[in-house]
């Protein structure tokens, strides 16, 4: 008899959730996901086939629409045991709305309460520190230049604060989301795999643990201080294996195996399998 387990992918827009979903599906079908093996070809796989096709063609994943709830729902065989795995492909906008509106649908509420595990996606090169004006004013001239660019990126012109919509720094938004999820879970433990996506952009000497402490110090402290109710671990993942927008890189990547070109690095810097974060979130390891 199959046990049903669900994993919720959490993250802000463009954090790599759908691309990793596509990679995981490809790996499962190709027997490249360790103990996670496809149990049957009878499940509805249209959505994951679509996103997996784009990954194989080295095309960026299409943005998941806020009001379309697609999912990966597969019957698996895990070390001889049947498992029905459900991973809703929730859009980043949906999670952004949760932070802004302080509410979520009853379906998401139920999914949060019942999930076996959670995977939090963060674009490793897209962390917005949302700096203080004072921090910038006391920086170097070079930083001043960067600050001006940053202000423009936020849609604001310095000196004009009217009608500027509040943005949140990435780490504040993520801690906010995790707190909301943890509070909904109550005493039930929260198992959280953190995936730093686009890891191919980071220096090889940097470990995911170091990245978390350096780029998201508030989140790092929060997780360390709450290690008992919130079990967490971090991986650096490049589901694409490189930059699809670079024609030369794309051509090289197209020649490689879709699963084989992906990069997955454990928190301590060791290479590991594509399924490692999912195995951990599902408590298989």
């Amino acid at each position: 008899m199959n046990t049903t387990r669900s994993v919720l992918y959490v993250g802000l827009p463009a954090s790599g959730k759908t691309t990793f979903l596509a990679l995981l599906y490809r790996a499962i079908v190709a027997n490249g996901a360790g103990p996670l093996q496809l149990g049957t070809y009878q499940d509805d796989r249209e959505h994951v086939n679509d996103v997996a096709k784009r990954l194989a063609r080295c095309e960026e994943a299409l943005r998941t629409l806020t009001d379309h709830d697609e999912q990966l729902a597969l019957s698996l065989s895990v070390e001889g045991e049947g498992m029905f795995l459900r991973i809703p492909d929730l859009s980043g906008e949906r999670w952004s709305h949760v932070i802004e509106d302080r509410r979520w649908s009853v379906e998401l509420d139920r999914a949060v309460a019942e999930a076996t595990g959670f995977v939090l996606f963060v674009h490793s090169g897209g962390v917005d520190p949302d700096p203080l004006i004072d921090d910038v004013e006391h920086g170097t001239d070079a930083l001043m230049g960067a600050a001006a660019t940053d202000a423009e990126a936020h849609g604001a012109s310095v000196g004009e604060a009217h009608d500027v919509v509040r943005t949140r720094g990435t780490q504040v938004a993520l801690v906010d989301l995790i707190q909301l999820i943890a509070r909904r879970r109550g005493p039930r433990a929260l198992r959280l795999a953190i995936i730093a996506s686009a890891w191919d952009l980071k220096p090889e000497t940097l470990t995911p643990n170091e990245w978390l402490a350096e780029d998201l110090p508030l989140l790092d402290q929060f997780l360390a201080a709450n290690a008992s109710p919130i079990e967490s671990d971090v991986w650096g993942v490049s589901a694409q294996g490189g930059d699809f927008s670079d024609p030369a890189q794309r051509e090289e990547l197209l020649r490689q195996d879709v699963v084989g070109r992906a990069i997955v690095i454990a928190g301590n810097g060791d290479e590991c399998t594509i399924a490692a974060p999912m195995e951990w979130a599902l408590r298989i390891t």
Partner: protein
């Protein structure tokens, strides 16, 4: 039509959608069953009722931050929280906040993304008495919950002037584990305003130490804000003398644990390590509470204050 059907199926009420059809489906659905779950009150700080429940649940330290308008009370609390955005602070780690969005909202005007040319903190205009919440972890992993108040200065000016105070303020002050009396460094730096600033602080301490207000054993901190504006040695020396006088005055009024400190939030925050240690330090209450203690004090502590 397809979008509307999907919207209704997910149970999400027109979030992020401009589709009129989706609104209709959601409204029809909401008549029979709830479609959304409200998570919290967002950027508003905690109400007295919420704070009372939380304080009872967590054993939080309630810290009333008192002072006149624009003295820097909110900036103080937000700057303290903001230190953790860069990593562990003093010997503590950030462990959570039930008012995270409130902290973030209050800091926004000081961030580059606000578009402001100069950092600001939005004035507290809330007519309610509210508190913020900051959970910290000590090096040995113990958790501590701090709840500084975020109350507009006008309400404390009523105390300074001996006017009737807003309902709940006396009860909150009486329940407070600690009290900060904030003095505006900008006024201390002004030869014209400095005497009035410390005179107001004296009046505030006097009002807060009337029977039924601050517990005699509650630590009280006379805190100079905007210390960066106090530049001249003569001014600093004058203020130090006044701070000593205010501490002595508070002790004469029956308070057993009075001290003074200075902080500056800008341009680079300073003095907040000691402030956080003061907030975190355990409170020893040996003094018997007067028999005529207002009953609402106990009600607040039990977490059911209306």
């Amino acid at each position: 039509v397809t979008d509307a059907a999907n919207e209704g199926a997910t149970g999400d009420v027109a979030v992020g959608s401009n589709d009129v059809g989706a609104d209709v489906v959601a409204e029809e659905a909401s008549e029979s069953m709830p479609t959304e779950v409200v998570l919290d009150s967002g950027d508003a700080a905690l109400t007295l009722e919420e704070a009372g429940v939380l304080a009872a649940e967590l054993g939080a330290t309630i810290i009333v931050v008192a002072g006149a308008q624009a003295v820097g009370k909110t900036t103080m609390a937000v700057t303290l929280w903001g230190q953790f955005l860069h990593g562990a602070f003093a010997e503590f780690r950030f462990a959570g906040s039930r008012s995270l969005d409130a902290f973030d909202q209050r800091q926004f005007a000081a961030r580059l993304s606000s578009g402001n040319a100069h950092p600001e903190t939005r004035r507290t205009e809330d007519e309610d008495l509210r508190l913020l919440h900051l959970r910290i972890a000590t090096p040995d992993g113990a958790l501590a919950d701090l709840m500084p108040s975020d109350i507009k200065g006008e309400f404390f000016e009523d105390v300074i002037n001996g006017r009737a105070v807003v309902p709940g303020l006396q009860e909150l002050v009486a329940r407070a584990d600690k009290v900060v009396v904030a003095i505006d460094g900008a006024k201390i730096a002004s030869l014209v305003d400095r005497a009035s600033a410390t005179f107001e602080a004296e009046q505030l301490i006097g009002g807060l130490t009337e029977p039924g207000w601050v517990h005699p054993d509650a630590p009280v901190l006379v805190l100079l804000t905007k210390h960066d504006l106090v530049c001249e040695l003569e001014t600093e020396a004058w203020y130090d003398g006044e701070a000593d006088r205010l501490v002595t005055f508070a002790q004469r009024r029956g308070l057993t644990a009075v001290s003074s400190a200075k902080v500056r939030a800008r341009p680079i925050a300073a003095g907040f390590e000691d402030l956080l240690r003061w907030m975190h330090a355990p409170v020893h209450r040996g003094t018997t509470i007067p028999a005529d203690e207002p009953p609402t004090i106990r009600v607040f502590a039990a977490g059911v204050m209306a």
